[in-house]
Symmetry: C2
Subunit: 397 residues, 2 copies
């Protein structure tokens, strides 16, 4: 038999306490955790089933579909959610009260089915999603360590990129070599995105004007993609002199992702592109100093916008034909966590936030420029954990 | 401006007619299509927004969030679903009646929000999910062509596998080289799976006894994976003499996927493994002949089970420590479509079904054996579109 919970008891308690505190604020007394990212968050592994958080603040009860060999203090082996209530009764374990479900992740049909199975009196479930999002927004020291491991491996991959380039390559050919090196370095490939609307494979390599092709997805940058079934990223552009190549590839080496972008150039590129790239670096270092606990996320956005306006580069900021509405986002198990660094964000920075800042520009005729780093919010500011060289790097020496 | 609908009018009509017919059977008069796979199905591209199918059977109305430059006969540019009703009224376009939503795909919160926005009288939406699933289960000739293109490229990748193997390789190292060759052949990487519970990166390479490690996902085979955050597939097993290596990798080269598995061996392997592999080939060819329109899916399952029982290989069929409950499944835009080839399936085969059959075995001490092919149901039986050699192939000549 294999132990179900891979976190230490102290680590699991840290996480559960945060979730419970967020539940208490919303009057949610019990919860059913059902999504892979949140099951992973609370146990350190993905399994098929549910984590039931009983109303008496006692230990979680694990409702396990698959795999069948996992061991924990309180488990019920289930095939489907119907019947769990009577299993709880048989064992004299606490029944749900003011139950929260992941209504922001569960499908309507499944939420409906879980409500019928767990709340036979016809009451509605409360929404547990935000409690988990908020708990996950501040990382524990153990989670920060995993992110730093990802950041270091991510950096090793990016340092190899100039060696992977060969003259005559297209954007997708370069991307495929980066994917391979990244996988050999231990990248799990999995790119977890909250919400069903966003799709991408391993990340984004944008060469030249393809950076200006608008995509349907809510990423900072677009790109036409290789096929209309997945219209984002590399589109087969031949990498030519005078172009930039922006690389924003998967940093999931540990279950926790770092997000890092670097920009490469082939030969001489336009002066405006150099200027915008340097501004991106400057914005990141300015915001990193400002980003102390208690600062409003939107204040960081406003500062970036102000720096861009002063430089006269507004038309190119966060896209040219289509503009993204944010410059940064939380990151961890998924690529889009709290806090959001956007004009209308109500988030406030806190110790342990992991934030990717990505002030990027699209310069027509040249391509995308700018950088992205992942930072951890500390009492004195934001610590960068993605340390590849930030300046524009020549693909050919 | 770029045309939104990439399908020919005749092709789009074929698909819409099938969806409309399935809606009529359920009393659904209008629909809102919201998920990427279904938006792609009805237009030939992914965009962010909704396809509104009005109650009068007239042309679709496209509600577009992103990208902003798409052109179609009837479009409304939207930022959010609230307010669409008044936009419809202004244009004198038909309002929703007996509205269907994708309740099997939308999150509870989003379905709730769409109901409030589109059904202000408080009526509940009907479930459109199954209508789209059923329409997509029988492919049009155009879709079958895309699947055949994927099948041919998939085959070219698999034929290269023995050249990619080098002595001393682990399963994941071999997988990474297959991923690279596959991507260079045009594989989009994207591996669309319906439902949020299943995750995998580019497919599954299982060496030796790792094939017997149960995973949480509802795939035919498991594998421990490289990390508990993604516990499926290759786990770093060194490929040794006497082992089999089962390869089941991503066949999405066109937006439509083929599903194909082949098994490789290093040196001599156990006689029972040879026997089970041959039985898998025999089951596939027997079922392919039986699989004419009108046959019940469960009858195919029963035939496979009977052949396995007669051979005395039941203990190893579809897993050893943990058994999968199906031997085949529909495939197309997603890897898990209708029909399902399982004991309790109510599906009945029809012309145009694309079905992956995967009768597989796990032989302790050796590994997984068997094959998987994708077939198109024709009036005279199932046509195989994944044509790599089926026999056990030696990794080293």
């Amino acid at each position: 038999m294999e132990r179900l919970v891979l976190l230490s008891p102290a680590e699991q308690k840290l996480r559960l306490d945060k979730v419970r505190a967020a539940m208490a604020q919303r009057g949610i007394k019990s919860g059913l955790v059902s999504s892979n990212p949140n099951i992973y968050y609370l146990t350190g592994r993905v399994f098929s089933g549910y984590i039931y958080l009983p109303p008496d603040d006692s230990e979680p009860i694990y409702l396990i579909k698959r795999p069948v060999h996992l061991l924990a203090d309180r488990t019920i082996s289930i095939r489907k959610p119907e019947g769990v209530l009577s299993e709880l009764k048989i064992r004299n374990w606490p029944l749900p009260e003011a139950l929260g479900l992941e209504l922001g992740r569960l499908t309507y049909n499944m939420a409906d089915r879980l409500m019928a199975a767990f709340l036979p009196d016809g009451t509605k479930a409360l929404d547990l999603s935000r409690c988990l999002d908020e708990a996950r927004a501040t990382k524990t020291p153990h989670e920060i360590n995993l992110m730093k491991v990802s950041g270091a491996k991510h950096e090793r991959v990016y340092r190899k990129i100039p060696q992977l380039f060969m003259p005559g390559m297209s954007d997708i050919e370069l991307q495929i070599e980066i994917e391979r090196v990244s996988r050999l370095e231990g990248c799990l490939g999995q790119f977890r995105i909250a919400g069903e609307d966003m799709e991408i494979h391993m990340g984004n390599v944008l060469a030249g004007d393809n950076a200006d092709a608008p995509s349907p997805y809510d990423f900072a940058m677009g790109g036409a993609g290789m096929d209309p079934s997945l219209p984002v990223g590399a589109n087969g552009t031949l990498i030519r002199t005078g172009m930039t190549v922006m690389v924003d590839m998967n940093g999931d080496f540990t279950g926790y992702m770092t997000d890092m972008t670097r920009t490469f150039a082939l030969g001489e590129i336009a002066e405006k592109a150099h200027q915008a790239h340097q501004l991106s670096i400057d914005i990141c270092s300015t915001l990193a100093k400002m980003g102390v606990p208690g600062v409003e996320a939107k204040v960081l956005y406003e500062k970036a916008e102000q720096m861009v306006t002063e430089a006269g580069l507004t038309d190119y900021f966060m896209g040219h034909r289509q503009h993204a509405g944010f410059i940064g986002h939380g990151v961890g198990i998924e690529i889009n966590e709290l806090p959001v660094i956007a004009p209308r964000s109500r988030d406030i920075l806190a110790v342990g936030n992991a934030i990717a800042l990505e002030p990027k520009f699209v310069i027509p005729g040249t391509g995308a420029v700018g950088i992205e780093n992942t930072y951890i919010v500390t009492p004195t500011g934001m610590e960068c954990i993605t340390k590849a060289p930030q300046e524009l790097v020549q693909l050919q020496k």
